[in-house]
Symmetry: C2
């Protein structure tokens, strides 16, 4: 059971922070504050939390960062060192967690004696609700205090929660870029191709759903289909020729087809 009296302050008000703050509020945590570089962003998340019965303090100043038991830093990865450098003296008693998949735990070392990572492996878009019960959260802590708190928060809102080292998380995050960001980019390129020819790209949706659904029961290596999988170099060459006026897509088509061909030759 989570300790419902814990105060949580968020540093960052982006997609991950917003979804996580609302979920923690729903699980009984009290959101003490929201910091963002701009008051507009901080206030937007505070308002959203107001809608679920919370009244956090919004601020754009680290000096006014509301004191809490747990600080969750959820900012762009390359902004993390700046946050650590600016970390205020009055907030060094709690547990400080960052949410970045590809950043080592030690980056937030300077903020408190107890620090760690709470990395929910999921794709968060502002306008799309995410079913947290289907998300695995990976946690790490520099000591038992930090690790227990990270685990407690993760268990409270996510379907699964497990320990993973910084090195393992780096691999995981890289794999997630392939499985999520790059697969979505494949959808985007397919949409571009069809939109340029006035074909409704939404006819691809059943194909996309089937492809993604299949991987739950079939290893993606075994589930592969298509011209490169069949070793059908004539079709691959024809597609590459048809993409002659779009060198970017042609290069991507070529590289990925060769990568598939190599695995099934």
């Amino acid at each position: 059971m989570q300790n419902v009296s814990r105060l949580v302050t968020f540093v960052g008000a982006g997609n991950v922070a917003s979804h996580l703050a609302v979920a923690l509020a729903g699980a009984g945590y009290t959101i003490a504050g929201v910091y963002s570089r701009t008051m507009a962003s901080a206030n937007a998340l505070c308002e959203r939390l107001g809608g679920v019965g919370q009244c956090p303090v919004g601020t754009d100043s680290f000096e006014r960062l509301p004191v809490a038991d747990v600080y969750i830093i959820s900012v762009k990865d390359d902004a993390l060192p700046n946050v650590v450098a600016a970390w205020p003296a009055h907030c060094r008693q709690g547990v400080v967690l960052h949410t970045a998949g590809s950043v080592a735990m030690d980056v937030v070392k300077g903020t408190s004696d107890h620090y760690g990572v709470l990395y929910p492996m999921q794709t968060f878009s502002k306008d799309k609700a995410v079913d947290f019960s289907r998300v695995t959260c990976f946690v790490e802590g520099n000591d038992e205090v930090a690790e227990n708190v990270a685990h407690e928060l993760g268990e409270a809102v996510f379907g699964h929660c497990q320990k993973l080292s910084s090195e393992g998380r780096q691999q995981l995050h890289m794999a997630a870029v392939f499985a999520c960001n790059f697969s979505n980019h494949m959808y985007a390129l397919a949409y571009e191709l069809l939109e340029a020819h006035d074909i409704d790209p939404r006819c691809l949706l059943p194909l996309i759903a089937e492809t993604a659904g299949k991987v739950a029961t079939l290893h993606p290596h075994d589930g592969q289909t298509g011209p490169a999988r069949r070793g059908d170099r004539a079709v691959v060459a024809r597609h590459e020729a048809a993409l002659a006026d779009n060198p970017e897509l042609q290069q991507i088509y070529n590289l990925l087809s060769e990568s598939i061909l190599r695995r099934y030759d």
Copy 2:
């Protein structure tokens, strides 16, 4: 309503042929025969059709191809010209349809006066059932006879059926390679990365499901997330460095990240 007395003969006994033959049998068509280059493959599909109450003739000889009202040629794209060259004189009265996404209708011109295309846009794996009600089928015919028959068969078993020219189908098929084969390859590469580090790749499944599900309500351009989307070149560079021992994945990571960065800069 389909004409339930129509006889259908299949040339080819692969994934598409198998799923389609079973579905047509279920919709009341009679499967007269199955040709394959090997008797083993022809017999395997005949046996499967026997399980749904049909008794087609299996053959590996064009001279013994069972006469039918409709011939469906579903073979590797580059084998299509050989099939057309070998087409037997006693099978020139029916409607001949091929199922290839990337092949022009005219490739089967020599087989009959009535010919066309029945292209179900879906990914078919032998061991995985496919919900045909969620598949769109694209049809084309050289005349009204062929087009009507293609449409009738498509409507009988697929959720949606629409007319599309050979040129449009070529674009569609290429888009499908991106949306399906290449996105699946991204899953495969992610699995390889995790398996090499003894992390269970199935922890990616919720992420994959969410990414694919999101595109139903959000254009993939708007649904994109991740380091390249955020313009976070530091993370992109860190991932590329971590892939130094895997030049193939490094090159793919680089090319796709640059492609994403270009779209959101």
